[in-house]
């Protein structure tokens, strides 16, 4: 059980990792990564029950499935900080011969990753399959998943959302990163999503709104409530309202930093706003 202060320190360090990784190779996706930093830290350091050693089947532990694979920087940083692989490996992000591919993959055998993602809209189905396997195995642990809001424009999601509601996949907690941004602008201008929670509700899900999606305490409370509601015949959805680029002022409240790296000067500014807490990789 980590203290709020400890979790805040981890989050600050993860934000440093994200901007440094992306800056080094002048590519990657800092905006969504920063927006979901608190979620990842809460999930991995507080919420999920995890084995010390990674196994692909994840039997007897909680499982996380990332659908919006482009936020790999936050995923890799948190996995490394959790001890899945050496921290120094963050130096190899997006480089030739690295296990830290631009988008997460099982292909290079990176511990912690169970599915490739990046081509959007596929993670919900995979998470459902993983949850069904848990039921077959009589494994009471939870499958958590994360999805971008823009990603919900992919039709496969709605096949999956319909399935999970209809077939009562109630050991699944899917979180939607509702930052309302996508590459071409605001989601409501590009392809309006409207009331996402209501859409899940009418497909048979139990829905929780998380207004403070960058507040670790609020995230923990909501995910604990979500877990309480699991196992009751409905899959659980958390609509998590986040600020894209959170923690780096010039990256906040804009889609401009979806897939763009900071230059040297911008990196300095970002690091000044997030002081080293646990030691840089």
């Amino acid at each position: 059980m980590a203290s709020q202060q400890d979790l805040a320190k981890i989050a600050t360090q993860v934000r440093r990792d994200i901007v440094r990784m992306v800056h080094k190779v002048n590519s990657g996706h800092p905006g969504g990564s920063l927006g979901c930093t608190e979620f990842f830290v809460a999930l991995y350091f507080e919420i999920m029950k995890l084995h010390d050693r990674f196994t692909m089947d994840g039997i007897g532990e909680d499982i996380f499935i990332l659908s919006n694979g482009h936020i790999s920087p936050v995923y890799y940083s948190v996995l490394a900080r959790k001890g899945y692989f050496p921290l120094e490996e963050l130096n190899t992000f997006r480089m030739l011969d690295s296990r830290l591919q631009g988008h997460p993959t099982t292909h290079e055998g990176l511990p912690g990753v169970r599915i490739s993602s990046g081509s959007l809209g596929q993670g919900m189905s995979v998470a459902i399959g993983t949850a069904l396997a848990k039921k077959l195995n009589k494994d009471k642990h939870i499958v958590y998943s994360l999805h971008g809001d823009g990603e919900l424009q992919e039709g496969q999601n709605w096949e999956a959302i319909m399935f999970a509601g209809s077939k009562k996949v109630d050991n699944l907690i899917a979180t939607i990163d509702r930052n309302s941004q996508q590459i071409d602008g605001n989601t409501e201008d590009v392809m309006a999503l409207g009331d996402v929670g209501e859409k899940f509700r009418v497909f048979g899900w139990d829905v929780l709104e998380l207004k403070e999606g960058n507040d670790i305490e609020a995230i923990i409370d909501t995910l604990k409530e979500a877990k309480k509601r699991s196992g009751k015949g409905k899959p659980v959805c958390v609509i998590m309202h986040t600020v894209m680029g959170n923690g780096v002022d010039y990256m906040m409240h804009t889609h401009a930093w979806h897939g763009k790296a900071p230059n040297d000067e911008q990196l300095e500014r970002a690091l000044e706003q997030n002081e080293e807490t646990l030691g840089d990789y």
């Binding site: 089947d57 994840g58 039997i59 189905s125 993983t130 195995n137 496969q156 096949e159 319909m162």
Partner: protein, 318 residues
């Protein structure tokens, strides 16, 4: 020439269903998924005996592929079932990312492949699926020729670690292979030894190839007939050994000549032993409505077409 007897016409999809029934009884890790085509895929018995290990996903093939990928994470061996068209082209990216690139142990089982689907017409008659699937790194591609072979293949792929595309069909066709056969993935089956020409066939065209070889024998032409059930990985050794002996080859498949078995054979020959080759396959075209037999005749996929192709390739043989 070696004689093969039709043990009674049966559909290859029923061979798949029989294989699934057996797997349901023998392998507790096997689960099955279907997209609203349980009857067509002959899954009724598996479902009746293993209701907890069957997932009806409705008409949602993309979701089915993703769920299958997820089921492997918990250690299961998912077999997906729908028509070949909806098993491949419709869900190519789901297979590519969530199954093939992710290295997931999913068995994509596809019925109603090719023209022999018949009256439903071109919307459902995929002739590009072998090409689509064989291009995916790590994907094993199998096209079986009769009921017995399809059942044997269904059992064999459960024992194979890694993604597999298993292709079979709708119509009742002669059932002539050994009901007790061992199915070896990636291993060619020598059906008849000959010396003048090699006929390499897959799927429904294997029986037609045997018919053609019999007719050729009447004209004094000795045809070697090889059944390639596994298009990838291809048994290059068996193909090269045969063509080194005969000097020419005819490839036969219920598929477009672009991207199919014929092209894989041609590539092998080009690299190791260039030789004249003729293709019995569709010629970059869509299908159409008609009976199975009518279509196979019109599109040049029957034993008469194979015989013609042999006569043609023999002329080209130096």
């Amino acid at each position: 020439m070696k004689k093969y007897t039709d043990q009674g016409k049966k559909d290859t999809r029923s061979g798949f269903g029989a294989g699934m029934t057996e797997l349901g009884r023998t392998n507790p890790k096997v689960v099955s998924l279907c997209a609203d085509l349980v009857g067509s895929l002959k899954l009724d018995e598996f479902i009746e005996e293993n209701p907890d290990r069957f997932f009806q996903v409705g008409i949602a093939e993309a979701n089915m592929m993703g769920i299958a990928a997820g089921l492997t994470i918990g250690g299961y061996i998912p077999f997906t079932g729908t028509f070949a068209n909806f098993s491949t082209g419709r869900v190519y990216d789901q297979i590519r990312q969530s199954i093939a690139y992710s290295g997931k142990n999913v068995k994509i089982c596809a019925s109603h492949a090719g023209l022999t689907l018949g009256e439903d017409g071109a919307t459902h008659q995929i002739l590009e699926d072998i090409g689509l699937m064989k291009m995916l790194p790590g994907m094993t591609v199998i096209n079986t020729c009769d009921f017995n072979q399809t059942k044997a293949a269904t059992l064999a792929i459960a024992e194979h670690e890694g993604p597999v595309y298993l292709r079979f069909g709708r119509p009742k066709v002669p059932n002539f292979t050994d009901p007790q056969q061992d199915f070896h993935i990636g291993k060619a089956v020598m059906l008849n030894e000959g010396k003048d020409v090699t006929i390499i066939a897959t799927g429904h065209l294997v029986w037609e190839a045997l018919q053609a070889a019999e007719a050729l024998e009447q004209e004094g032409i000795s045809a070697e007939v090889i059944n390639i059930h596994t298009i990838k990985p291809l048994d290059e050794e068996a193909i090269l050994a045969s063509v080194r002996k005969t000097g020419c080859v005819v490839t036969c498949e219920e598929h477009n000549f672009l991207g199919g078995l014929g092209e894989s054979v041609a590539r092998t020959l080009t690299l190791h032993h260039p030789a004249p080759q003729e293709f019995v396959a569709t010629r970059d075209t869509f299908g159409e409505s008609g009976t199975s037999d009518q279509l196979m005749e019109k599109y040049g996929l029957d034993n008469k077409a194979i015989k013609e192709a042999v006569l043609q390739v023999l002329k080209r043989k130096a």
